[in-house]
């Protein structure tokens, strides 16, 4: 018994601690393993909207469900992004892709939104999804809002490679790793201890060599895939919440948790430089959402994710663009 007892107590202690941490987290509005999603007003709204919003088995997008067969004279917009557009922290009708659809409809532009964004998606993942699902859903426009995932990937060893097949044992360990990383204690330790340690290190002030080239290589591939499908690719500039000098501490810790070796100034400089390169390209259509959004903290819940009013703000900017360029953009769709 003496062999096992201390191990049992250790596990029990960790489990109790996790339970307490999860209770606290859930009361503060976070989803946890034991207690699930928090019950909030927005959650109730999401419950009601779940019936009309995906993803579902037949509609794999986080946006208002539409039939696969496109409606005549409607504009079908494919959103290629990541957690910025998927944003599971807010109800599906709040995220900017849904808001964009609502705003265009209210301005008399028939449209269907296919929000093919998932947390952690990179441009390569966007491209793979567009290549596999695009022909079945036949979008008119591919709207690309994607930068930070590729930026983070460039700081890691094997940024753009797909994972090689792993054996059963390795997959079991991966699942265990994933479970541990979902616990609230892990999240708390990473947010409050590891990121503070990173903040004490001498951080890289710029991205590794070749990061920008890799980003644009991936972007070009996605654009080519969109064109191959007969869709019109439109690239958005990317938004960042603050300048490094006035970045709030908790925002800074989020960055350090995401890319432990990268100083916030490196994020800021890279996003600025990549945006500039996008704007300078004459061969692609660009919506500059960053210039009216970046640096305004109220639009963000962390450095690269939008707050509720941020989603609304972005959707408004996008809707304005689509409205004023609609005759050019629509293709097979248009004003009703």
């Amino acid at each position: 018994m003496r062999y096992i007892a201390p191990l049992f107590w250790a596990l029990l202690g960790l489990a109790v601690l996790e339970g307490l941490a999860e209770y606290r987290a859930q009361r503060r509005g976070f989803q946890t393993i034991l207690f699930g999603k928090p019950i909030t007003n927005s959650e109730a709204t999401d419950g009601e909207t779940n019936r009309i919003y995906g993803p579902t088995e037949s509609f794999p997008f986080r946006s208002r469900i539409v039939p696969r067969q496109r409606t005549e004279r409607s504009l079908r917009i494919w959103i290629a992004s990541a957690s910025h557009a998927h944003d599971s922290r807010v109800p599906a009708d709040t995220i900017f892709p849904s808001q964009l659809g609502e705003k265009l409809e209210s301005r008399g532009i028939a449209c269907e939104i296919l929000n093919a964004s998932h947390p952690g998606d990179s441009l390569r993942a966007n491209e793979a999804e567009l290549a596999s699902q695009g022909p079945r859903w036949n979008p008119d426009v591919v709207l690309i809002y994607q930068m930070s995932t590729d930026l983070v990937a460039s700081t890691r060893g094997e940024p753009f490679a797909t994972a090689s097949p792993r054996g059963l044992g390795a997959r079991a360990v991966d699942a265990m790793d994933a479970f541990v990383e979902q616990t609230t204690i892990y999240e708390l330790l990473k947010s409050n201890v590891s990121s503070r340690i990173n903040a004490s290190s001498v951080l890289d002030r710029r991205l590794p060599d070749g990061a920008q080239e890799k980003y644009f290589e991936s972007l070009n591939r996605l654009i080519t895939t969109a064109k191959t499908l007969g869709a019109r690719p439109i690239v958005c500039t990317f938004c960042f919440s603050h300048e490094p000098s006035n970045l709030p501490k908790d925002f800074r810790l989020v960055l350090l948790k995401t890319a432990p070796e990268l100083a916030p100034v490196a994020w800021f400089d890279a996003i600025g430089s990549w945006n500039e390169s996008i704007l300078n390209r004459s061969d692609i259509e660009v919506i500059d959402v960053a210039s009216g959004t970046s640096g305004q903290g109220k639009y963000f819940r962390d450095p690269v994710h939008f707050s509720v009013i941020g989603h609304d703000h972005i959707a408004t900017q996008l809707a304005n663009y689509f409205e004023s360029n609609v005759a050019e953009v629509v293709g097979s769709g248009g004003r009703e």
């Binding site: 191990l7 330790l189 004490s200 001498v202």
Partner: protein
């Protein structure tokens, strides 16, 4: 499968549980150890597990023939085959490209050019460690210090035993094989002392070594031009404690893991930075390697038995080969030469310094400078770093308070006697109530998770 990973924790838990669950058959237990060891190694490299198996088969068979032979010349031939096979593999996989490049440079120095195709073979993890281990077996057999192992299973477990397979301690057959033939025993106290030893090793690795590297050391060595003299100095001190905690932490985890399976592995470190001369340093640093080099290289070369000049040659040769053992690169050769010179000088002049504290400080700083040769691969970069130390600008210090704190605690920890630590572990394991011990484990896990900022491999895996 790094020791500081959840993967290893699960692996070790499963192996230990199965090992002690098998109560009847010792063959099944040993078979489990062998299979587990190969699985462990194959998590690094599937193909190169064949190399270990090959070495095992060759040395086991040579050992059997050596045991049967009464002829000294025949035994010598068998020993020679073992040496050629094992060192040949080591040469092919580790040193071929180095010698080719050096040869080409020598030829070009004399005005000619020659181009030899490079080997594309990757370095098998731990090859330097298990090669020395198998060699100790055949050499001890040849010297009749050991009886040949009759069980292939026992011998295969000795060569591949997973806790020390990839980075030591280098275990000798004479110490390990007798443990295989005894019925393994474990007590709750020993079990938890083993777990505490693993925790101690993980703290050394994650809290001291990795943090020192992440907070300053890696950055200074990667971009020395961005840092001033003070940061260079701090990075040197930091690296000294990083490499010590990294490697001794690995040894702690290896020794603790073996304890959970009822085995005793030799100690590898004993507070090397409190040594009062370089000779003493080598009796405290990587002890299983330094005693191996002493017993199987220095003494057979003649040791100090043939006059001062021969002793100097023997020392230099031993240290150069010891340096080369660490890696196929000129900086390791220089590091070996440097330590060889220090030993020769120590042999002659060390007694000049009378005060023991001064001797300790001098020795520590001599070793510290040696780590520069160890850490920096290009000779030009060593020059740049050294000149930045001497002529560098006093730029604002970029090392954080956290770095200074970790360095301070690491240096204090270095003074604690291993015997004292062992006593604390045993007392904790034997007398602490289970809930309190469990709480300590849980807290250690939390500290380790929080302090893990990245997951680099152990430094000594590259050797």
């Amino acid at each position: 499968m790094n020791f500081n990973s959840l993967e290893y924790g699960i692996f070790l838990f499963v192996v230990v549980a199965l090992y002690w669950a098998i109560t009847q058959s010792s063959v099944a237990r040993r078979m489990l150890l062998l299979v587990a060891s190969y699985i462990f190694y194959m998590s690094w490299s599937s193909y190169y597990a064949g190399l270990i198996l090959f070495s095992t088969l060759v040395d086991f068979q040579l050992g059997k023939w050596m045991a049967k032979s009464e002829s000294n010349s025949h035994r010598k031939v068998l020993l020679l085959i073992s040496l050629v096979t094992n060192l040949g593999l080591l040469f092919v996989f580790k040193y071929f490209n180095f010698f080719v490049e050096t040869g080409e440079q020598v030829v070009s120095f004399f005005g000619s050019t020659v181009e030899i195709t490079r080997s594309r073979l990757l370095l098998p993890v731990g090859i330097s460690f298990y090669t020395f281990q198998t060699l100790s077996y055949t050499i001890d057999l040849y010297r009749r210090k050991l009886d040949a192992e009759t069980s292939f299973l026992n011998f295969a477990v000795f060569v591949s035993f997973f806790p020390q397979l990839v980075a030591g301690p280098i275990v000798r057959a004479v110490d390990f094989l007798p443990q295989m033939s005894k019925r393994p025993r474990i007590t709750p106290t020993r079990f938890h002392a083993g777990l505490l030893r693993i925790m101690q090793g993980l703290i050394k690795k994650v809290v001291f070594a990795d943090l020192l590297a992440a907070l300053l050391v890696d950055d200074v060595f990667a971009n020395p031009q961005d840092f001033g003299t003070a940061d260079h100095l701090l990075a040197m001190y930091g690296y000294a404690f990083q490499i010590y905690n990294d490697f001794s932490g690995y040894s702690d985890i290896a020794i603790g893991s073996a304890m959970l399976l009822g085995f005793q592995l030799p100690e590898n470190f004993d507070r090397p930075y409190i040594a009062k001369d370089v000779r003493e340093f080598w009796s405290r640093w990587h002890m299983t390697l330094s005693t191996w080099l002493r017993d199987y290289l220095y003494i057979p070369l003649g040791g100090n038995r043939h006059g001062e000049r021969r002793t100097t040659v023997n020392l230099m040769l031993t240290m150069v080969l010891g340096g080369l053992w660490h890696g196929a690169s000129m900086n390791f050769v220089l590091w070996g030469v440097y330590h060889g010179l220090l030993l020769v000088l120590a042999h002659r002049f060390w007694q000049v310094i009378k005060n023991s504290t001064v001797r300790m400080l001098v020795c520590f700083h001599l070793v510290l400078f040696g780590w520069l040769l160890f850490r920096i691969e290009s000779i030009e970069d060593i020059g740049h770093f050294a000149s930045a130390l001497v002529y560098g600008e006093w730029l604002p210090v970029r090392a954080s308070l956290l770095f200074l704190g970790v360095l301070f605690v690491a240096s204090i920890e270095h003074w604690i006697q291993p015997e004292r630590l062992a006593q604390i572990r045993t007392t904790l394991a034997a007398k602490t109530p289970s809930p309190v011990l469990g709480f300590a484990y849980a807290m250690t896990i939390l500290v380790l998770v929080g302090a893990t900022v990245e997951a680099p491999s152990f430094l000594y895996f590259q050797f």
